[in-house]
């Protein structure tokens, strides 16, 4: 069953058509990679899928809820959707654990419980030992792992990752993809934007975007 569903979604910025009638579904336990050249609409697709941006037309459904009908989109992001970006991921003035806690605390969860939850999910992605470090005391890979932990905290089942390995070396990138794959296998729906076909190999399905349109969607077996 699909966790996120985009149906005939378009997004225009004035004369610029960033997305054109895109339809896409990502099921729980599935990792979908989105590929395409620069300005093909990959990031817009991710923003629209998580409710950061609203489509000009078409519908986006997350966990059965039509985003056009959702009155409190930030609350949806706090509870159901987690974002991971290439950089600018963590807030420099907060420790790793505090960064991971942030969505839960914004949701009104008490500090002690939020911290316990964040430590649990940091344990899962293997960064529990970094809990009290500040972002500038961590390596790039460690920062991305913490960002993934934050994207998952609080039982969130949709991870939207925008070039999460863009600023990392190959070895660390492999580790990050490994973590994302693991989360998908544990039941999360993962939508990964990347321009490196190497990482697309980790996905269950690959979607190719060009000029805002899906030009191909193939299962992993077909890619291989």
């Amino acid at each position: 069953m699909s966790f996120v569903r985009l149906a005939q979604v378009s997004r225009h910025y004035g004369e610029v058509h960033a997305l054109k009638r895109v339809s896409l579904e990502v099921a729980e336990g599935e990792l979908v990679a989105v590929m395409g050249p620069s300005a093909s609409g990959k990031s817009t697709l991710l923003n629209v899928a998580g409710g950061l941006d609203l489509p000009t037309s078409g519908t986006v459904t997350v966990d059965g809820a039509d985003l056009a009908q959702v009155r409190d989109l930030p609350a949806l992001r706090r509870r159901a959707v987690g974002y991971v970006f290439q950089d600018l991921n963590l807030i420099p003035s907060l420790t790793a654990a505090e960064n991971v806690m942030l969505p839960r605390e914004l949701d009104g969860v008490r500090t002690r419980r939020a911290r316990a939850e964040s430590l649990a999910v940091m344990e899962e992605v293997g960064v529990a030992n970094l809990a009290d470090r500040f972002p500038d005391e961590m390596s790039g890979g460690q920062r991305q792992r913490v960002a993934i932990a934050r994207a998952l905290v609080g039982d969130r089942r949709l991870v939207l990752a925008d070039e999460p390995t863009g600023a990392l070396d190959t070895h660390v990138s492999d580790e990050i993809l490994h973590v994302l794959r693991g989360r998908a296998d544990a039941g999360a729906a993962v939508l990964l934007v990347t321009h490196e076909s190497r990482y697309a190999a980790w996905a269950d399905r690959v979607v190719y975007l060009r000029d805002g349109e899906i030009v191909d969607s193939s299962l992993l077996e077909q890619v291989r």
Partner: protein, 832 residues
């Protein structure tokens, strides 16, 4: 909220410099107000605080002078009033009323020394344990015999033997003591009988006993003694309930409610509003720049589910955190500084008690600073809530809508404020201040629009200035805020400058000298010719070589006192000069020498009239049909005497001279009690025997310069610091522009001119708008301060105005151009 506070606190710590700047700006008013209040409170010694220095270790203090067998009128609620015959109690009479107690005599009065000046003196046995703590021995020993005294530290200079001219004896200084509540005050202390004579119980003032009792004196005992007519103070009661401390009284009035004039409320409210506004507009740009730096962070939070409300709260919390820090820092520094200031002042003779402050003032001021911080962060907070997360995350320029302020609201407020100023111009100053605040708030709202408008005029300027003005107009949030801060201060400073300068000019013009400038009059209020001769002799010795002209005063029949001779106005028009003919001393009676002296020249016509027995009057309005009305407090007066008006050489001089013949004709008894002479004031004081007083005519002696300088200092501080902060922020912001200018060959001079241009633009707009507002308010103030019978004095302190309007922006420009860091920035990728 905890997460938000944590975020703000961490962000404040990460950018320490900027946070410190904001904290400093917000803390300044708290620091100043807390410092002054703490210093005053520490310097004010309440009766309870001064208990030990006034009573030592005694359980009670009994005054010698009281009532005997008084009638007690009970007024209910335990209150009563008493009436009866005055009585000086003796130790023998009192002892039975204080069973088992020891009465130690104590007396405080002033004592005259050989320089004829009077000094505070005290008689008590400082060696007695009951007086312990009253004075601290710092040198030598305590008096142990009659004829020995100890003095306070400043009086050490007077030598080891002091003369007491009134007692015809000398005393020996054996030590130095300090009053803990006034370490550097003048004082002499001796055993009873040395300073004031044997009869210490004459009941006139300052005499009594320190009472050492086996048990504390309780309320019932005090009541019982007071009903007997004995004035007694109980240590136990004073410690328990404090005392009639004037400050506590004021607070009690405050808390129980009393009629506060509406004008005071309006003025005070306006003042608070101005403080919050000034702080907020000064700190506002710094918050705006913080926001720009934190945009990505806020976008990240938004991506993680932070709502607009969350983002707004985060930025507002910054204001709360920094405002709170400023409140604590300002209050702490103010408390420390106030106590330190009180200590330093005590070394120059002022009083000092235990460190003390008025929390009822300090706490609201601290709250005010928290509010100021919050208000300063409100606009950036609103912008944070409006920012587009996707645009920021994509590295595009934030599409925050740039507002041109609220020009219509601003205009409406300005019009309302001007109308209010017009309506208030003849009322109290506080109303005018309140009306001016309305105009200032209006201008704050109008400022972004004004900045944008002025930016359009930049196209004809040279490149650096054009760039500066364009940049300032583009970032009008930052520019308008700083310009508004400058405007508010300039308006206040100009209003007070013009108002008080006009008041000064008005007072100066209305001043009436009562004798020629540079002359001295010595008057003797003494009953015998011998004493007057002593005064004259002393004057001759003190002013060697001076020529004295004697004059007479009126003697009340059957009395040994002088009477004051006045010339009352008889209706009709009378210039400012006839408001005080003769001043407080009255019109003199004298001969032709006196006439010549006061007239300042030889005038044959005046001398002839004077010789013919006519009063020579220096004020035309007082002579009617050749007569002047003379008043004196005795029978047969007022009476008319033949008179003639003569203008004295000294313009505006008032007064008159009565010839002996006229005085005789009016039936007045006179005696010589006055001397006139030319005199050049010297540093030393003119020491005259008691009963003599002197008046030196120095003209109008209230100088305006210090006040104007102080106002200029305030303007300088705020205009330059406000401009500097905004220019620094602008410089940080326009680093990419500076890099481009540098890359295409712009010299360091161009970059400096650009910064100077920014500073000039901000301070120029602020100062000009502020000057116009302040001038209007200042002119309104002149009505309130100088209006008399429909005439108003409006005087502009041109040099001051020029300094503020032209000098300060120029200074801000030069300082910004010269002091701002100007290294060529690297040419980076820019997110546009």
């Amino acid at each position: 909220m905890r997460a938000l506070l944590r975020l703000s606190w961490r962000a404040a710590r990460r950018s320490k410099g900027r946070s410190a700047l904001i904290v400093a700006m917000i803390a300044l008013p708290v620091l100043a107000i807390t410092g002054v209040v703490t210093a005053l409170s520490t310097m004010a010694v309440s009766e309870r605080e001064g208990l030990t220095t006034s009573m030592g270790a005694a359980d009670a203090y009994v005054e010698a002078f009281g009532l005997i067998n008084p009638e007690v009128h009970d007024m209910g609620d335990g209150r009563f009033s008493m009436s009866g015959k005055g009585h000086t109690w003796t130790a023998g009479e009192l002892q039975p009323l204080f069973p088992g107690a020891r009465l130690v005599p104590h007396r405080e009065e002033s004592v005259m020394l050989e320089d004829r000046a009077r000094y505070p003196g005290m008689e008590v046995d400082l060696r007695d344990p009951v007086s312990s703590g009253m004075r601290r021995l710092v040198e030598g020993r305590l008096p142990a015999a009659a004829g020995e005294v100890v003095v306070s530290p400043p009086m050490r200079r007077m030598g080891t033997t002091l003369q007491l001219p009134q007692r015809n004896r000398s005393v020996k200084v054996v030590g130095v003591v300090e009053n803990p509540n006034q370490p550097m005050g003048d004082e002499l202390v001796s055993l009873p009988g040395t300073l004031f004579g044997e009869d210490a119980r004459n009941g006139l003032s300052g005499g009594g006993w320190l009472v050492d009792m086996p048990e504390p004196l309780l309320r019932d005992d005090v009541d019982r003694l007071i009903r007997k007519g004995i004035h007694v103070k109980s240590r136990a009661l004073l410690q328990e309930r404090g005392s009639l401390d004037p400050r506590e009284d004021a607070l009690a009035m405050f808390s129980y409610g009393f009629a506060v004039p509406a004008a005071m409320v309006a003025g005070f409210g306006a003042l608070l509003l101005m403080i919050v506004l000034e702080t907020a507009v000064l700190a506002g740009p710094a918050f705006a720049v913080s926001l720009r730096r934190r945009r990505t962070e806020l976008a990240m939070i938004s991506a993680q589910g932070g709502s607009s409300r969350h983002l707004r709260t985060i930025v507002a919390t910054d204001g709360l955190v920094l405002g709170g820090l400023a409140a604590v820092a300002g209050a702490a520094l103010g408390l420390g500084g106030g106590v330190a200031a009180a200590y330093v002042l005590s070394r120059f003779g002022s009083r000092i008690g235990p460190p003390d402050t008025q929390w009822v003032v300090v706490l609201p001021v601290m709250l005010l600073s928290v509010i100021s911080g919050l208000v300063a962060a409100l606009v950036p907070a609103a912008q944070a809530a409006r920012q587009s997360t996707t645009a920021v995350l994509a590295g595009r320029a934030p599409d925050v809508r740039i507002r041109t302020g609220r020009p219509l609201l601003g205009l409406a407020l300005i019009v309302a404020g001007l109308a209010a100023t017009f309506a208030a111009h003849a009322s109290e100053e506080m109303w005018i201040l309140a009306a001016m605040t309305l105009v200032v708030v209006g201008l704050v709202a109008l400022m972004p629009w004004l900045v944008a408008r002025c930016g359009r005029l930049a196209s004809r300027l040279p490149l650096p200035f054009r760039l500066a003005v364009r940049d300032a107009s583009r970032h009008r949030g930052r520019t308008a805020s700083a310009a508004a801060a400058v405007m508010a201060v300039t308006a206040a400073v100009m209003a007070f400058g013009i108002g008080y300068y006009s008041n000064y000019v008005d007072n100066r013009d209305r001043y009436v000298p009562i004798q020629p400038l540079g002359t001295l009059m010595i008057s003797g209020e003494v009953p015998t010719t011998r004493e007057w001769a002593e005064i004259k002799a002393k004057a001759v010795v003190t002013l060697p070589g001076a020529t004295f002209i004697e004059a007479h005063e009126i003697r009340e029949p059957g009395s040994e006192e002088n009477s004051i001779l006045m010339l009352p106005r008889q209706g009709g028009r009378c210039g400012p000069m006839c408001e005080r003919p003769g001043g407080d001393y009255g019109i003199p009676v004298g001969d032709e020498r006196l006439l010549r002296f006061l007239l300042g020249r030889d005038d044959p016509a005046a001398t002839a009239a004077f010789a013919a027995g006519k009063v020579v009057v220096f004020e035309p309005g007082l002579v009617r049909d050749g007569k002047v009305r003379i008043s004196a407090e005795m029978t047969g007066f007022p009476a008319d005497a033949p008179a003639v008006f003569v203008a004295p050489s000294q313009p505006k001089q008032a007064g008159a001279v009565v010839p002996f013949t006229a005085a005789k004709k009016l039936g007045l008894k006179t005696w010589e009690r006055r001397l006139y002479t030319r005199y050049t004031p010297r540093d030393e004081m003119l020491m005259l025997p008691s009963g003599a007083s002197s008046y030196y005519e120095a003209g109008y002696r209230n100088y305006m310069t210090p006040q104007l300088w102080a106002l200029f200092g305030v303007a300088f501080f705020f205009v330059v610091s406000g401009t500097f902060i905004a220019t620094r922020l602008a410089a940080a912001d326009s680093r990419p522009d500076l890099a481009t200018v540098h890359a295409i060959g712009g010299s360091p001079r161009v970059r400096r001119l650009l910064l100077a241009g920014q500073a000039g633009y901000i301070s120029g707009i602020g100062v000009l708008t502020g000057a116009v507002t302040g001038t209007v308010a200042g002119i309104a103030l002149t009505w309130s301060l100088t209006e008399r019978a429909g005439s108003v004095t409006i005087a502009i302190p041109w040099l001051f105005v020029l300094g503020v309007v032209v000098g300060l922006p120029l200074l801000a420009m030069v300082l910004a151009g010269a002091l701002m860091r100007n290294a060529p920035p690297p040419l980076n990728r820019r997110p546009t």
